[in-house]
Amino acid sequence: MAEPILQVRDLCVRLSGRLILDHVSFDVLRGRTLGVVGESGSGKSVTASALMGLVPIASGSVKFGSREVAGLSERAWRALRGRQIAMVFQDPMSAFLPVRSVGAQIDEQIRAHERLSRTDARARTVQLLQRMEVPDAAQMARRYPHQLSGGLRQRAMIAMALSCRPDLLIADEPTTALDVTVQAQILALLREVSQRDAGVMLITHDMGVVAQSCADVVVMYAGVIVERGSVETILQAPLHPYTQALMAATPEIDGPRPARLATIPGQPPSPASRPQGCVFQPRCGYAHEACGRRPPLRSHAGRDVACVLYEGAA
């Protein structure tokens, strides 16, 4: 078993009085990319923000290596952010400041955390861009975000995230805004990062992305983890009805093309109207009276799943 870089236990986040994350627990292991999947509004991005200290943690524990970070002061968080935990965002166009060169923005992060001269910071920036396979890196560093292609922008974003050698890289939908061909390149790059540089937590709504680049996966729904395990186990035999529905809604690359792609009827609940019992029960085809009680995550068939269907038969 690889050592955990990040251990999250019973993480709860409350925003304006509403419970957004409800006892979320998972680990990110060194060298293994963790995928966090779910529909919009399932709490994926809030999880990322909580791990960056950008939203307050209501309760629970978040451990980086052996250091507990829940409850740190804003100043202490600032020293961690960008240095030990870094983040890559969905749209690299709007995530970069449009009026300063890409290189200057990477330099800024390096110099915010380390005492380096401008020239040394720029040298590292160029080196990072080269490692992200940006062609003509010194020249590219002087360009403005709008002068780069989407793929190059996202490579620059990843270079910026890695600029202070963080332990954990959180990528929030890093390929959603990109062309399909570029997506594959960025995912390959992230795979390499996870083996060489840092733990990677990849947030996505796309099961295909998970299959391509993750080793472990956490399936979230309405602020709750419903299934958790290794990618092979879960993709081969999803147990939770929500995971099954998500898989059914993903088209197969080979094999017959379905006449109509399956959808999940209904909408994910808003934090205000979250059901008392199992969160997926209102949209679930297997719902019955036992679902009025919230099922805990239990180990079953090589993964953890929160569903009454698998209780008792471990």
Partner: protein
């Protein structure tokens, strides 16, 4: 290079258009005929006819227009219709440094003050400091400049002038910089503060609103995720983007003030600036002086617009398309 030439051409067209408009309006205004005024009371018809001929008022309007433009720009010996023999161009050039000093100093003060207030308010939005400063800026914004100026004069010139606090205040009026730099500074300090007050209030509010709007943007989230301090985020990211709206507002305000918009401040503090001159020209319906001051202020608006465009190019590389291949 081509765009610069285009801009210059545009500016020239604007100035020609304005000069024609001013000229036409003057002759369409009832009672504007300068002949009677130049001749004085009870002049005989013969004298009126001679003056009309001497000044060229009996010629066709286009000819009069062209002669006036020639005297204004080429010969530069255009004389006032009201004050005999008073040359108009040197008058404007004598008034311009006063107004430039007044507006330049005030602009520095109001930009500095509003950036300070805007950034502080955006750093701690809805806190006590924010509320107090925003209230203060509404107050500054709504105090009329002539009232504030008169009150300042009352306090510093008469009532408390002999106290320690205000004994440095010179009598009203302008001291040229070259004559005495310290006198120049002392004569202008209070006018600067008075003129900048309402602009400081307005600009602080505009900047705070821009910064607050920017704080929800993705690039601000990135800045936070980089682990920068709130001040760095505000200055290097928020302010860097919010400058854009600020600059266009600033360019136009400064241009209209230099062009004579600082009239009230100039009158209250007895500064012989362009606003004063324009005011005199208009009350006397003195066409040569009106023409000179209006064209002078229009030229500043055109120049300021061009400068704003240049500053935009410097601040926002996205507008520089075509200069470099991306």
């Amino acid at each position: 290079m081509r765009s610069v030439a285009l801009r210059l051409g545009q500016g020239a067209c604007v100035l020609v258009g304005i000069s024609m408009l001013v000229f036409a309006v003057f002759f369409a205004t009832p009672g504007a005929d300068p002949t009677a005024r130049i001749a004085g009371r009870g002049a005989s018809p013969q004298i009126l006819a001679r003056i009309r001929h001497d000044y060229g008022f009996d010629r066709a309007l286009p000819v009069q227009y062209i002669r006036m433009m020639d005297k204004l720009f080429v010969a530069r010996d255009l004389t006032s219709f009201v004050d005999h023999g008073e040359r108009v161009v040197p008058e404007v050039f004598a008034a311009a440094p006063v107004t430039l000093s007044l507006v330049g100093g005030a602009a520095i003060i109001w930009v500095g003050l509003s950036v300070l207030i805007g950034v502080v308010c955006a750093l701690w939005p809805n806190g006590i400091v924010d509320r107090v400063l925003m209230g203060l800026s509404v107050l500054l914004l709504s105090i009329p400049v002539f009232w504030l100026g008169e009150v300042v004069n009352l306090v510093t010139q008469s009532r408390y002038h002999d106290t320690m606090l205000f004994s440095w205040v010179p009598p009203l009026g302008y001291v040229p910089f070259l004559q005495s730099p310290s006198g120049w500074f002392r004569s202008l300090l209070l006018p600067w503060l008075v003129l900048s007050s309402s602009f400081a209030g307005l600009y602080a509010r505009v900047l705070r609103a821009e910064l607050m709007a920017a704080s929800g943007e993705d690039y601000m989230r990135t800045a936070r995720a980089k682990g920068l301090s709130p001040l760095r985020i505000m200055l290097n990211h928020g302010l860097r983007m919010s400058w854009l709206g600020f600059v266009s507002l600033f360019g136009l305000d400064v241009a209209q003030l230099i062009g004579g918009g600082a009239l009230l401040t100039e009158v209250v503090f007895a500064l012989p600036g362009v606003g004063h001159l324009t005011y005199r020209a208009l009350t006397d319906l003195d066409l040569p002086l009106i023409m000179a001051t209006v064209l002078y202020s229009a030229a500043f608006v055109v120049i300021a617009n061009a400068l704003v465009d240049l500053v935009y190019l410097a601040l926002d590389p996205r507008l520089r398309t075509g200069t470099r291949h991306g």
